[in-house]
Symmetry: C2
Subunit: 126 residues, 2 copies
């Protein structure tokens, strides 16, 4: 099935990641066929890092893994949605979600009304 997905010219497909219990959208990252295969085999989210050009097991350094509970493809088979159990926070900044900066409909920035769930300096210092 994963061969039939519509990858972009670089062989990548966007993956939206949602916390299965709170339904909060945590992040968006890119996968290729191999990282999808690793994800399905291990049950843990694996990505392709475009900036580092390498595979990336989410949580490999931080311990903040994402266990897959359910996933879906969209009607065009060019986007994936993973519902996960997130350990710690998803964002490298320490926030639960990468989407911590919100705006009102007209574009006015809203104050960040949440605390960081981990200290990135401590988590990534090893």
């Amino acid at each position: 099935m994963i061969q039939k997905l519509k990858y972009n010219a670089d062989g990548l497909i966007p993956a939206i990641v949602q916390d299965a219990s709170t339904r909060r959208v945590l992040m968006m990252a890119w996968m290729n066929e191999s990282s999808i295969a690793s994800t399905l085999k291990s049950g843990l989210m694996h990505y392709w890092s475009r900036s580092r050009q390498k595979y990336w097991l989410k949580g490999e350094t931080s311990g903040h893994t994402q266990r897959v509970l359910r996933w879906s493809i969209d009607c065009d088979a060019d986007t994936l949605l993973f519902e996960v159990e997130q350990v710690g926070g998803a964002c490298h900044t320490g926030y639960q979600s990468c989407f911590f900066q919100a705006f009102s409909p007209d574009g006015t920035p809203l104050p960040i009304d949440e605390q960081k769930v981990f200290d990135p300096k401590e988590t990534y210092s090893a």
Copy 2:
């Protein structure tokens, strides 16, 4: 602010769309700077259609508009998340969400346990 977003080589940025009340992820589509400006001005989701190479007011034909209640940028400023009030269904197939085909973690397809919310033949026949 929308000038500072990280658009891809084609001047596009992915937008995840989530139903603000159910928290269900409805779809992912692409926006450019002008479609973001139109969205902020009108309060209704506007996209850039890569296949048709044109602007696209969601619901222009179907009436299934998406009113923005809140939106966010991610930590890298290269992905947007819009929380919307969806009229009708988001998917051109008639389903509420484009992500209607789900799988178990190992990749086994799950039965579609929902009904279509509109008849696409009727909606798009005009």
